[in-house]
Amino acid sequence: MTTSWTETSPTALAERLRAGRDAGRRFAGLYATAVDASHLRLTALMATPGGGIDAVDALAPAARYPALTPRLPAAFWYERVIHDLFGTIPDGHPRLDPLILPLPDDATRPRPGGAPCPAALDPDDHVLARRVLGTGLCTIPHGPVRSGVMESVEYLVETPGEDIPHLQIRPYYKHRGVEKRFEGLDLAGGLLVAERVEGVATVAHALAYAHAVEALCGVPVPPAAGLIRVLHAELERIANHLDVVLRLCDAAGLGVAVARFGWHKERILRLVGRLCGSRFGRGVVIPGGVSGPPRLSHTALGAELDRIRAALDPDLRLLLVTSSFLDRLRGTGPLPPARADEHGALGPVGRASGCRDDDRVSRGYDAYPLLGPAMVDDVDTGDALARLRVRVREIDESFRLIRAAADRLDTTGPLAAPCTPDDGRGIGWAEAAQGEVLYAVHVTGGRITRCAPRSASFHNLALFGEVFTGDILTDFPFVEASFGLSIAGVAL
């Protein structure tokens, strides 16, 4: 599937995207690239149902441009990030609070794609808005140091005591300057960074990055490599979905279930480690193919999968009839289908609210068209329980795909095609456990000049503050776990 690139003016961009949106396309992302000291290029990504992902460019002045958010609410967070990274003001943006990098002035910014940035930029929390209004209303800060072993993020829960009328999300604490880090690296170096953008979705990020680079090379990936990629991507999906199940059980205080699912997840990670040497599948995917065959025989892999399923399936079945658990999830954190569609919610969060999109099915890659993955397309209640049901069924389907991929695998041929990219820009995508991961990679002379990763965590976290209608403080951990997001992929 190829990506089309078109050009428009910054004043026409919002209308253009809105028209595409009204024609049934999904807003998939927006990033900017510094062109020179006084200009930047905005690139919006639109996904066509059942088709590829197309890019629309607009050259804008570096100082300000007309904001997209008033016409396209899904761009809300994206424009805040553009302001954080470039100091550019989107005119008419409803609330341009810092998101991933609060800085006191607009002049000194990292400006990805442009000249090297200052050696150090310290976030300044004085520029953040703190507003609490109303009788008896108070703000409870959750984080940045959370209770339990979690990634650092601050949720400001504004509450009169029990309800959660408003939630502010501050992921900037763990901003690592990822986008700037890619610049100047060769393709192998870029892959190492991509694997660490969102470490729990290592394989999906490596795949989306590799797909973007392969789009510039024009070489097909060997069929065996496509199968090995599916094998690892699906194992990663199972591990991530089990992590969500585990955290939901933990929130409900189901001690035995926490222990059981912790054990199942550990077995999956160990299996991945035995297959490739890394418990997170690092080093498997390389641009052009994979780095080597699985280190386990077909029989050994099949036997281990059988053992894991024999223990896991009864636990999942029991969980789905444990009423004290289901009662906590039913109706909790509802994301209405209309809102999910408007925002273009991704992954299990989107599919639980009726968004029928899955990159493995809609815009298949590697061995997926061959294996025919099934998409969960009959859930639309949009609550935490729906998100759990989607994940449980995806675990089942992942086991089938792994089996099918392993059965067809013949590693006698080459496992990687030589990959020498032409200069230019490539777009790549992959379906992580969290949802669609997108990479835009600009290459000149074999070196990366700009790389903009867009994780599903970033896109979906923007919805997280909106789903507490009717929920109370004690529902917070359930809703958070049911989104299943990684902050590393948000703060970049």
């Binding site: 990292p110 140091v145 690592r176 990822v178 190492l192 997170f280």
Partner: protein
């Protein structure tokens, strides 16, 4: 009731480590070793091939690997199998930053022994019951999975008197992951201030030790060593659960020694 029975179904799943070695410890590559300690004419060139600068060339041409910077990408093992090799075994944590440089560290045995003795004196009262507070200072998310794994039934560190605590006021041991994001400097410092003395600090993972791949970014410090008084360094990207457990036991003076297993 159903869950109670389910909990009994598979018997004891827990490792015997540290009382006995666990076979899984040695079944995956945990570090890079230098197999040729001799002088290499192209040492500088070999060192340049490392994406994080973990390979260092001495002026006389000998090669060293700084495990505190190594992200286990394996580029060196693939390019020069005559010089580098994977090394299994999870006992890679050390109580001194310098000893992460292999094959030999510049530290003398006496100074290391003094360091260990000072640490042992500090943690004497914590030995049998220690409460851990974890803080993420800019990780990629995988480090948290490995820390969480310590509390699953396979590792079950509660059997060793190691517990997780939500409040820094109850914590004895600060376990820090992540590359030292500048935004986390102040929260880290405040967490440390809130902890009662004595404190043990563990830098968990290559990112926390040196910044890893993100060292030199405008948004991170090179690891957490400048912000916190780190006692134990646990390499790995991320550090595996066995490495983390080894690091905690090392901090408490309870790590299994070569001479014999001690608890």
């Amino acid at each position: 009731m159903m869950w109670l029975l389910r909990g009994l179904r598979n018997g004891v799943l827990t490792t015997r480590y540290p009382a006995r070695p666990d076979p899984y410890q040695n079944s995956f590559p945990a570090a890079v070793a230098v197999t040729d300690a001799g002088r290499q004419p192209d040492a500088e060139q070999v060192a340049d091939g490392c994406p994080t600068g973990a390979i260092q060339a001495a002026p006389d041409g000998r090669l060293f690997v700084d495990r505190g910077r190594c992200i286990l990408c394996g580029a060196c093992v693939r390019a020069r199998p005559d010089l580098f090799a994977w090394q299994p075994g999870a006992a890679t944590a050390t109580a001194h930053r310098g000893t992460l440089v292999v094959p030999e560290s510049t530290e003398t045995d006496e100074s290391l022994a003094a360091l260990r003795a000072a640490l042992a004196a500090r943690v004497r009262r914590l030995r049998r019951s220690v409460h851990v507070r974890h803080v993420d200072a800019g990780s990629d998310g995988s480090d948290e999975w490995e820390v969480n794994a310590l509390f699953n039934p396979v590792y079950d560190v509660a059997r060793l008197g190691i517990f997780l605590t939500a409040s820094p006021r109850h914590a004895d041991l600060l376990l820090v992951t992540g590359a030292g994001a500048r935004g986390m400097t102040e929260p880290l410092r405040r967490t440390l201030d809130a902890m009662p003395r004595p404190i043990v600090v563990i830098a968990a993972g290559t990112d926390a030790i040196s910044g890893g791949l993100f060292a030199g970014s405008y948004a991170t410090l090179p690891g957490v060593g400048d912000t916190l008084p780190v006692d134990v360094w646990a390499p790995g990207n991320p550090a595996s659960p066995f490495t983390l457990l080894h690091a905690i036991l090392l901090a408490l003076g309870r790590a299994p020694t070569d001479a014999g297993v001690r608890r």
